[in-house]
């Protein structure tokens, strides 16, 4: 095997779910809502080099999203209330998916619905699509009035959504995306795992708000939005730590990841893979650079095997 080949092999991870697994060339995926439908970023890097592409949240019908303004910068973070503007699942399948390199890189769709039945229908739509590697169920969007966050804050409802999607799409890996806006994220995580989730991704944005003193207006039309970016990294890391200890299925870390070091921090805390989000706004090549920088970072910290490294955090108590 060539040196390059060995290096590539070291980056591979397999997320083994209860009923389906996801094999990735490397543990770095894109986060839904920050990478468009993928093609937007093709001028800035080779999509085929990514661990996976998680596309913008899709609903059954196209959604216009929330009124403007929808984004505002805050210290080390970005507040948004986009409200899931998207072209709808059918348009995605017809116009966007055929243009993505699905044979080489797993394309994961992120699902949003307002009711459990709608979630099930959406899952059914993707169940037979060969180009879709996995489903990520969004039960954690803080920017939509119905569904969204409500499902993610209640363990019973989180389990119901998970089970409904599982039933309609039994063969593809099922990821459930969790919200940090709960008292105990481990409770929701367990409920989803028991209901048939193959893996969990955490976290979605943190509920937040910003105001302008000179105009006395909120910076977002919806007043409250979701906070992302480096500001939320400690919360994300904590969530990954707690969730990975509460369930036996793989955890995908999301929140403020902007470097290869950040990727390793999440894996150390227990993540099987990560998603890069807001960093892709700051520089459109961010996720490609992170993938490229990962071998050097592994070398630097003496990480030989990602599987062995995962969750190997040395706690003070243990010493």
């Amino acid at each position: 095997m060539s040196a390059d080949g060995r290096e590539n092999a070291r980056l591979r991870v397999c997320l083994k779910g209860a009923s389906a697994s996801l094999a990735l060339n490397n543990p770095v995926l894109t986060a839904s809502g920050t990478f468009g439908y993928g093609l937007e970023f093709s001028p800035y890097g080779d999509l085929r080099k990514l661990g996976g592409i998680v596309v913008k949240g899709l609903s059954l019908k196209p959604r216009e999203g929330n009124p403007m303004p929808r984004i505002a910068e805050t210290p080390c973070g970005l507040l948004n209330s986009v409200g899931l503007q998207n072209c709808g699942a059918k348009v995605f399948l017809r116009y966007k998916l055929p243009l993505l390199p699905v044979e080489v890189v797993p394309v994961i769709v992120n699902l949003y619905a307002a009711t459990i039945d709608e979630f099930a229908d959406l899952a059914g739509l993707f169940a037979g699509e060969r180009g879709i590697a996995a489903l990520e169920v969004n039960i954690s969007c803080p920017n939509v009035r119905e569904g969204g966050l409500l499902f993610g804050q209640n363990p019973r409802m989180a389990a119901e959504v998970t089970a409904a999607v599982r039933a309609r799409c039994p063969d593809k890996p099922l990821i459930v995306k969790l919200t940090p806006n709960v008292t105990d994220i481990a409770v929701i995580a367990k409920a989803c795992a028991e209901a048939g989730a193959d893996m969990l991704s955490c976290i979605n944005t943190l509920s937040g708000m910003a105001v302008d003193l000179s105009t006395r207006r909120p910076l977002l039309a919806t007043i409250i939005g979701g906070l992302s970016g480096p500001a939320i990294k400690p919360v994300a890391l904590r969530s990954v730590w707690q969730v990975s200890r509460a369930v036996s299925i793989p955890v995908i870390g999301i929140g403020g990841i902007g470097s290869a070091d950040d990727v390793l921090e999440f894996i150390l805390a227990g993540a099987g893979a990560v998603q890069v989000g807001t960093a892709s706004f700051s520089r459109p090549d961010a996720v490609f650079r992170i993938v490229e920088d990962l071998p050097a970072a592994m070398e630097k910290y003496g990480v030989e095997d990602l599987d062995a490294f995962r969750g190997s955090l040395r706690t003070w108590q243990a010493d």
Partner: protein
């Protein structure tokens, strides 16, 4: 520093070199109305150097960057800029109109308004800046039609490049409304190339006079000319209303909050009139007048704009 000395292929670390090469891989962007037949340009991410930061007046700056790797774009397009080694006070790049681009480099014009522009005003020659572009569509250029340009304040920026690129600049009439002294604005680049009239608005009365003039001129150009406008939201709303009233072909160059500039953040959405099945090519549809039955739909300013037909966009 010679104009080209700043063209930089290596960023802060060695990884940046391969990043730049990859960032330079060609890809097609959407094409705007542009010249007959439309011309596409390659979009790329590069690290450019500050060649010169000129002070235009209190809070106004003319920033000259080393020449980017792309061809001189059609006028009206923009790029995203972020100081590579900035203060860390802000996260996202900011969109800037391409004010000038030639062999001396690329010029953007800005007014200090917040954290990012304050950061930019503190940059020094040789400082690196992450830049990606050219982005968005271009303004229509038709050598056979007279052009009325209506610019308000910093909204002058895209029209400097427009006058530079127009094959018959003598057919352009520019009406420029401004509140701060004229020296603040980069008008010197186009002086003598087209007809320019300036209007210093010191109070509401001045503004009312300017508004009347805008109406008169739009009516004048409605029959066979093109009207282009860029400026504050209230100014663009007025131009839009008058363009619809006199059925003038008018294009409005919008400024919106953007996080990415490439269609992903959905922060720059604007309501436009579109048919139900617009998903395959919204930018192309928006280049023509609306049809009966078109409905309001959000599109991203960065992908479908920043230049919109007045009869397509809702402000």
């Amino acid at each position: 520093m010679t104009p080209d000395a700043g063209r930089r292929l290596i960023g802060k670390n060695m990884n940046a070199a391969s990043m730049i090469m990859r960032g330079a891989s060609p890809a097609q962007t959407n094409t705007g109305p542009g010249m007959a037949g439309g011309t596409s340009a390659l979009v790329r991410l590069e690290v450019l150097d500050i060649a010169e930061l000129g002070w235009g007046g209190p809070g106004f700056f003319v920033l000259r960057l080393s020449q980017p790797g792309w061809e001189h774009p059609l006028p009206g397009r923009f790029l995203m800029l972020r100081a590579t080694a900035g203060s860390g006070e802000y996260l996202c790049a900011r969109p800037f109109s391409i004010c000038r681009i030639n062999d001396d480099g690329l010029v953007v014009f800005f007014q200090v308004r917040g954290k990012a522009t304050r950061d930019f005003a503190a940059l020094k020659p040789g400082d690196p800046v992450d830049a990606w572009g050219p982005l968005g569509n271009s303004l229509p250029v038709d050598p056979c039609r007279p052009v009325l340009v209506l610019a308000g304040g910093v909204g002058i920026a895209p029209f400097v490049n427009y006058v530079d690129r127009h094959p018959v600049p003598g057919s352009i009439s520019l009406e420029f409304g401004h509140r701060l002294p004229l020296e603040c604005y980069p008008l010197r680049y186009i002086e003598g190339k087209c007809s320019i009239r300036t209007h210093h608005e010191k109070n509401d009365g001045d503004r009312a006079v300017f508004s009347m003039l805008v109406e008169e001129r739009i009516r004048e150009f409605a029959l066979s000319g093109i009207v282009l406008a860029c400026g504050p939201p209230a100014f663009l709303r007025l131009v839009r209303e008058l363009a619809l009233k006199y059925r003038a072909e008018a294009w409005l160059s919008l400024e919106t909050r953007m996080a990415c500039g490439i269609g992903a953040c959905l922060g720059c959405a604007v309501k436009t009139l579109l048919p139900a099945e617009y998903f395959a090519a919204p930018a192309q549809i928006l280049a023509a007048p609306p049809s009966e039955g078109d409905r309001e739909h959000y599109v991203q300013t960065c992908l479908c704009g920043p230049n919109f037909r007045a009869d397509r966009v809702l402000l």
